[in-house]
């Protein structure tokens, strides 16, 4: 049963999600380019249309990893373990993109590629947590043991997401510093910019679902290949 679905050439759902994602991305690209420049940042604001969606998908992916890790601990199905790994993988890629685009934006805006802003620091820490997740996966040969250990790290690591976020909030409220907030653009955002941002958010989310599904199928084939002599 599982084998039959595996060997089907391509899953229509993957094509649907990816197709919708690419179409929305095209629309998002159009809206992003037609949106007006920001009063303070000028055209630099366009980086936001990539930066915010990648960061959003990164966090979404880590919550996906949490979801599938919990599901694995409860149900003990290999599928959940594979999907947790796929989610974490995509989360790393998108969070890496978010950090990269963020530093490209930071150089002309703040004058530096990197500052020790709490949000930046906690994001970097989050990145390291999931690098550790994959180092752990690579270190364990036995699939069941690997799945169990990875689920543990996936769950604890995801708990760090809201904790890091809260610590950012607490830090600010403690210090009362007027640090540059990456999200300030959203408060005073003009309708065309909001539209561009929303369309891009939708596009990246759709692409994420499509890629995750596709990657999950590839992971399944890899697992089946390992089993067969």
């Amino acid at each position: 049963m599982e084998r039959a679905t595996t060997l089907k050439r391509s899953d229509p759902w993957v094509r649907l999600w990816l197709g919708a994602g690419f179409l929305t991305l095209l629309a998002g690209f159009y809206f992003a380019l037609s949106a007006p420049p920001d009063a303070n940042q000028g055209w630099l604001v366009r980086i936001m249309y990539i930066h915010v969606p990648t960061a959003w998908v990164g966090y979404l992916a880590f919550f996906g990893c949490l979801y599938y890790s919990v599901a694995y601990v409860i149900r003990r199905k290999e599928h959940y373990d594979r999907m947790a790994a796929v989610s974490a993988e995509l989360g790393l890629i998108f969070l890496g993109l978010a950090i990269f685009t963020g530093s490209l934006w930071g150089r002309p805006t703040w004058g530096v590629y990197w500052t020790w802003d709490p949000r930046l620091t906690t994001t970097a820490i989050l990145f390291v947590v999931y690098v550790g997740y994959f180092v752990l996966r690579a270190a364990i040969e036995d699939p069941e043991l690997r799945a169990k250990a990875a689920a543990g790290v996936g769950i604890l690591g995801s708990i760090n997401v809201p904790i890091s976020y809260m610590s950012v909030v607490w830090w600010r409220s403690l210090h009362q510093i007027q640090s540059i907030n990456l999200m300030t653009g959203r408060v005073t955002i003009a309708p065309p910019m909001l539209l561009a941002l929303m369309v891009n958010l939708a596009a990246f989310s759709l692409l994420f679902i499509g890629i995750a599904r596709l990657r999950g199928q590839i992971a399944l084939r890899e697992a089946l290949l390992e089993e067969e002599p």
């Binding site: 601990v73 820490i125 989050l126 390291v128 947590v129 550790g132 180092v135 752990l136 270190a139 364990i140 043991l145 169990k148 250990a149 689920a151 543990g152 790290v153 769950i155 604890l156 690591g157 708990i159 760090n160 904790i163 890091s164 610590s167 607490w170 409220s173 403690l174 210090h175």
Partner: protein, 231 residues
């Protein structure tokens, strides 16, 4: 060691497990002594690196204290399950009837006691070498207790997770450090506030540490039996 009560008394079990580990640790000596001397070396190197100006050293002292303690914690974490695996006693622990959370709590208590005792030694050393003001010492000790509990909750969990793995000595710090950053950060801030006599933020950092402790201990205790099971 464990009482012959008809119903397993899990709290007592946890306590006796921690007690046994502590006795073994004190008799063996090598682990604790090595950790303390390693830390003394770290402090000397940091002292040299940061320069001889007393004011700079005093400013860096809270950070030095907690970085050294975090390093010590990753050394000590390997002690939590190291002997169990060497002597093959982990299977016997797992064979005992009842839920397995008590193993986690026992090991946590053990790690916590080690962490706090090493922390106290470190505190005295940092006060001497880095001129950390100890006027508010009850507050600093409370910070030490809260921070050590948060640190130990995660280090114990990961030590149990990696117990049968080769190369765990390298993996453990890699997994452990990113997760304990919030705890270390809050502890450093609270210690710095206490050292400078600026109490305005200390309460907030304590609350933060307290909530980390509650969350980490709860989640780790819930997950631990599922992770350890069967090994």
């Amino acid at each position: 060691m464990i009482g012959q009560a008809p119903k397993p008394r899990l709290l007592a079990r946890s306590f006796w497990l921690a007690w046994r580990d502590l006795v073994l640790e004190l008799r063996g000596r090598s682990g604790l002594l090595a950790a303390v001397f390693f830390l003394a070396t770290v402090l000397l190197i940091l002292g040299l690196a940061l320069g001889p100006a007393p004011r700079q050293l005093a400013q860096a002292a809270p950070g030095v204290l907690w970085v050294a303690l975090a390093l010590a914690g990753s050394l000590l974490a390997n002690r939590a399950f190291g002997l169990e695996v060497e002597d093959g006693t982990l299977e016997q622990l797992l064979l005992l009837p009842g839920e397995r959370e008590w193993i986690y709590f026992g090991k946590l208590l053990f790690q916590f006691s080690l962490q706090v005792s090493v922390g106290l030694v470190l505190l005295v050393l940092t006060a001497g070498l880095f001129y950390l003001p100890l006027a508010a010492w009850p507050g600093i000790i409370l910070t030490l207790v809260l921070g050590s509990l948060g640190y130990a909750s995660i280090s114990t969990f990961y030590a149990g997770l990696l117990v049968r793995l080769r190369g765990r000595e390298v993996l453990l710090p890699l997994l452990l450090f990113p997760l304990v950053v919030p705890v270390v950060l809050a502890a450093v801030r609270a210690t710095a506030g206490l050292a400078q006599g600026d109490w305005s933020e200390v309460g907030a950092w304590w609350r933060l540490l307290g909530s980390f402790d509650v969350i980490y201990v709860t989640v780790c205790a819930l997950l631990f039996p599922g992770i350890l099971e069967g090994g």
